[in-house]
């Protein structure tokens, strides 16, 4: 054990012997690993929230299909679907784009009957809207910040309706940390959203909730429903998206995006290996001489190698730990300042909401393994070459 501790101290001493080289290696690790962790953390954070969205959502989402494109679904279909055995609840919902303010900020208006008993919920500052056409809105955090909206603010008419345009009232603001997708959301009652879009008798989609064990039956029954009469006179067929369909697609899409990201990271890792290789051997002839002197003074090849393994481990573990600390701190306490805007579309330099992130044990372990591979590949090969050559040749 004493022999090993002596070698460990010799490995640590080697870091101080070539301070610049050690610094270059740690910097190379940080430059490569921090962006990798930031990108992966944000991607997996969104995936975690998407899983919540799927879990809390309906078993089926039914929309219309006409001329091969998605169209609103007639509300007459609600009664037909409710009659299917095994259907627990059918909730019509309107989801559409609106533009607010002088800058015409894009927002997503969601009209849905309130599903909470109480209007007071912890994730809304103020209260939730009342059902009915009363133009009460709950606004997302980033939208409220950009439009300088507060509870009880009034929004002048932002739409055209032949029955008359009405002033809307903000009754609540969504908490910035409640969901990634709340930032530009405007929640209202179904009737208010129908009035804003000047549509009657249609919904963007129907949320179908089933009793346990009935999902296959309900899916077949919805697909077998007769086509509905569309607003333009033609018939509308059904497009049914099941939660079970979205699960694999979600992972497939995100894994694909992460795969592209990982591919770029592999290129960066290769550059880091070359950097350490240059720092270890090509650029430092003094280091080769040092190995020669150790060999000439009685060190065995395995002892020299073990000293460099310990040195590499210390550099790799130190660099990777620093990378994890910087990445977590950047995402947690700096809320992904600047970097969230690179990875996420239309995100400001200072995000107006909490940026989700998640770094599980897998990515963290991967980072440590990558750091060890990068530093070892760059260091050990050159040491092995120097240690197995005659000392008089290496000391030249």
């Amino acid at each position: 054990l004493l022999w090993f501790l002596d070698l460990a101290q010799a490995g640590a001493a080697a870091i101080f012997l070539h301070r610049l080289r050690s610094l270059v290696i740690v910097m190379a690790l940080l430059v490569v690993l921090v962006p990798f962790l930031l990108g992966l953390g944000i991607s997996q954070g969104i995936r975690d929230e998407a899983e919540i969205s799927l879990r809390a959502g309906a078993d089926f989402l039914v929309t219309g299909n006409q001329l091969g494109r998605g169209v609103p679904v007639p509300l007459a279909a609600v009664a037909s679907i409710r009659e299917i055995e095994g259907v627990r609840e059918v909730v019509p919902r309107i989801v559409g784009t609106i533009h607010l303010g002088k800058e015409r900020e894009p927002a997503v208006l969601v009209g849905i009957a309130r599903r909470q008993q109480s209007a007071e919920v912890p994730w809304v500052k103020g209260r939730l809207y009342q059902d009915g056409n009363n133009h009460e809105l709950v606004v997302g955090s980033e939208l409220a910040e950009r439009l300088k909206l507060a509870v009880d603010s009034s929004i002048p008419p932002f739409y055209r309706n032949d029955k008359g345009d009405r002033v809307s009232r903000v009754v609540g603001l969504l908490d910035s940390g409640v969901s990634f997708w709340q930032a530009r959301l405007v929640l209202s009652s179904f009737e208010t959203a129908a009035y804003v879009f000047d549509q009657e008798g249609v919904a963007s989609d129907l949320l179908v909730f089933c009793k346990p064990g009935y999902t296959d039956h309900v899916r077949r029954a919805i697909a077998a429903l007769p086509r509905a009469r569309g607003t333009a006179g033609g018939t509308v067929s059904w497009r049914v998206v099941a939660r079970a369909d979205a699960w694999p697609a979600l992972h497939e899409h995100l894994l694909h995006q992460e795969g592209v990201f990982n591919l770029h990271s592999v290129l960066a890792f290769s550059i880091a290996i070359l950097t350490t290789l240059v720092a270890a051997d090509v650029g430092l002839s003094g280091r080769r001489r040092e190995v020669g002197i150790l060999r000439a003074t009685g060190w065995q090849t395995d002892e020299v190698m073990l000293r460099d393994v310990i040195e590499s481990l210390l550099l790799a573990v130190g660099g990777a730990s620093l990378a994890v600390i910087i990445a977590c701190g950047w995402l947690k306490w700096a809320n992904g300042w600047w970097v969230a805007g690179i990875f996420l579309p239309h995100m400001a330099t200072t995000p107006g909401q909490k940026v989700p992130f998640s770094l599980g044990p897998g990515p963290i372990a991967l980072v440590f393994v990558m750091a060890i591979v990068i530093v070892s590949t760059g260091t050990l090969y050159s040491t092995w070459r120097a240690a197995t050559s005659p000392p008089r040749l290496v000391m030249r």
Binding site: Q9, E49, S53, V95, P106, V121, R184, S321, K332, L344
Partner: protein
Amino acid sequence: VRALISRERILIVSVAVLFAAALALPHRQTPPQGHEFQEAVGGLGLGPARDMGDCSAGFDPRIEETCAWDHGFLEAGTSLCRCQGISVFRHRPLAEPGP
């Protein structure tokens, strides 16, 4: 005493402390009331976009199946909107349209 607190030992202890700190830091930021919010809106949002201005599929592919900027197959892959980047493979649709 000087031998006991040599800079090599300080370095080894510092790396161990850094390693412990890296493992102890919070690695996750997910909303505590996210489930309740998603129940209220019926499950909304699956993609990297926060609005449907550019691409509804980037916001939630359950609402809109295909990317509005999908120009079909190009030589290097499929050109999509800013949410998707350039995809080498075509995305599998969530559901086929009914009869």
